[in-house]
Amino acid sequence: MTPRRLRVAPGSPFQLLLLACSFALAAYAGIRLLAGDWFAVALWIVGAALLHDLVLVPLYAAADRAVIHGLAAAGQRAWTPYVRVPAALSALLLLVWFPLISGRSAERYRLATGLSPDGFLTRWLLIAAVLFGGSAALLALRVRRAAKQRPPAPH
């Protein structure tokens, strides 16, 4: 442990100057960004950081840990990537395209673009099915190969 400082250290002058310039520009743009509904915009920016760091990260970290521990309890720790990869990729697609997949903006989408908003959920489910299916097939192949390489049990 470093001994508690009695006075506040200023830090590198270069870093101070750089950050001062950065804040000046951020403030210049920020005043304009907050010109409308300033509270809601500030809430969105701070909320985005907090939601990500304090909700999203713990949530997917916990889900990942549950998968690892679940498979370890079943004695199949090596199967982890075969669950993790398709789950992560499917979740990523859902996160990015959530408004279309969930149909949140379906009516506006149909009216504005003249396209059907109905296919997104189906296509996402199909992609997830292909990812999980492909992963399962790879795992099955691996398990079979491992079984073949094992010497036959003596009778």
Binding site: G11, L19, A35, V46, G114
Partner: protein, 419 residues
């Protein structure tokens, strides 16, 4: 578990053996390049609207110095905006997994104690809030806007534009402070020298009591890259158009074209959405009002068809990143219409007004260079057929290389030289 490791403020709380300077440096350098391209293409798109030309084009009238670089948007090459905006949106979507992985890799830093070692360090941490919050704000508003989910607090253009500058201010400071370290880490690793800071230490992100690995670093990079590739492959087709549109399985303007036939290409806003009815555009009711130096001329569609008709092959490219291949438009040159009202040879800027009663861009200004381009048309036909209501019947403007929304549909009035 030691008691102190129950808290995220303790380095021992963070167990992943993946975290470390190498992982963070590689992701950081990818974002350094990627976000720079996003920022530049974003500024280019902002300029493409010609916001300096007329208040009707300008959703950010208080931009001040932030519009320092604005320039007259060119009409060549015709695919210019298709390319820059396609890159902006597709790259933004592709970078999402990299951004998430980068944030994951440094999340222990959020909780690190002491909160500040110096004034500079305290300011840097405040700057990081702008970096992370601003970055997530930019990505989120962009992703929501292209899906027409307008839940963000205000109009997209000013939010995304000013938000980009706030984010970029923090991004530049962060890049200046961290890029040398990232480059050193990567260079050392590529030369096979021992990695600096593999020893767990407060500021290296390396866990002091790592879990057993469940994936190698290479595997983790593979997952991030695979996520990017998957997003890219299911999105890029909406910007390439043609047979590739089918491959954009989840993108808003992927998989299908509306209806079929000559008018069967992507629509930004349908006639129904814009509130245009058959009564507005009926042969007997609709007149094009053209005003210029010598006064005002009112033209029916039949009279327009008596003027010399010209063809040009031009794409539609939307700010939302999707675009169409070139369509074959036929109609009257805008510069010929300017000549009708006294602007011979040297056409001026024009204000184009739609029959639309609402909508942010129901009025749009085009610059003299756009009016003068012989490929700029008031189109009456597309791909050999009359325009459909959704594509702007009875007449629409089509300008080479301009953002889609400046190609005004259901045109009612053209005012030359009055901006």
């Amino acid at each position: 578990m030691r008691d102190q490791d129950r808290l995220p403020t303790s380095p021992g709380f963070w167990r992943s053996p993946l975290r470390g300077p190498w992982f963070t440096s590689v992701l950081g350098l990818v974002l350094l390049v990627g976000i720079t391209v996003l920022f530049v293409t974003g500024l280019v798109s902002y300029a493409a609207y010609n916001p300096g030309l007329s208040p009707v084009n300008d959703t950010t009238p208080d931009k001040g110095l932030l519009g320092f670089y604005l320039f007259a948007w060119p009409t060549d090459p015709v695919w210019l905006y298709r390319l820059t905006q396609g890159v902006h949106v597709t790259l933004g979507i592709t970078l999402i997994p990299v951004l998430l992985a980068k944030l994951w890799s440094v999340v222990p830093r959020l909780f690190a104690l002491p909160p500040a070692r110096s004034v500079a360090h305290a300011l840097e941490r405040i700057s990081l809030l702008l970096l992370v919050g601003g970055g997530l704000f930019e990505f989120t508003t962009g992703v929501l806007n292209i899906q027409l989910d307008y839940v963000f607090p205000g109009s997209f253009y000013p939010l995304h534009f000013y938000g980009a500058w706030v984010f970029f201010a923090a991004f530049v400071a962060h890049a200046v402070l961290k890029t040398p370290t990232a480059l050193r880490t990567v260079r050392r690793r590529l030369r096979d020298e021992p990695e600096e800071g593999v020893e767990p230490a407060a500021d290296t992100l390396v866990s002091p009591r790592p879990d057993r690995p469940t994936v190698s670093r290479r595997g983790a990079f593979g997952l991030v890259g695979g996520g990017s590739l998957l997003l890219f492959l299911t999105t890029v087709g909406q910007s390439l158009g043609g047979p590739f549109r089918r491959t954009a399985l989840l993108a808003p303007h992927g998989t299908a074209d509306p209806n079929g036939g000559p008018n069967g290409f992507q629509i930004n806003k349908t006639a129904a959405y814009a509130g245009i009815t058959a009564a507005d555009t009926h042969e007997d009711a609709w007149r094009l009002v053209v005003t210029g130096r010598t006064g005002t001329v009112r033209l029916s569609r039949a009279q327009l068809l008596q003027l010399p008709l010209h063809s040009s092959s031009l794409p539609i490219a939307c700010v939302e990143g999707w675009s169409t291949a070139d369509q074959w438009w036929r109609g009257v040159r805008l510069r010929d219409l300017a000549a009708l009202v006294g602007h011979d040879g040297d056409p001026p800027d024009v204000l184009v007004e739609s029959l639309q009663r609402h909508g942010a861009f129901r009025r749009a200004a085009l610059r003299a260079n756009q009016v003068a381009d012989p490929r700029t048309l008031l189109a009456l036909y597309v791909n050999g057929e009359e325009l459909s209501p959704d594509h702007g019947h009875p007449a629409r403007v089509i300008v080479p290389a301009a953002p889609g929304v400046l190609n005004t549909k259901w045109v009612g009035r053209l005012t030359f030289g009055a901006l």
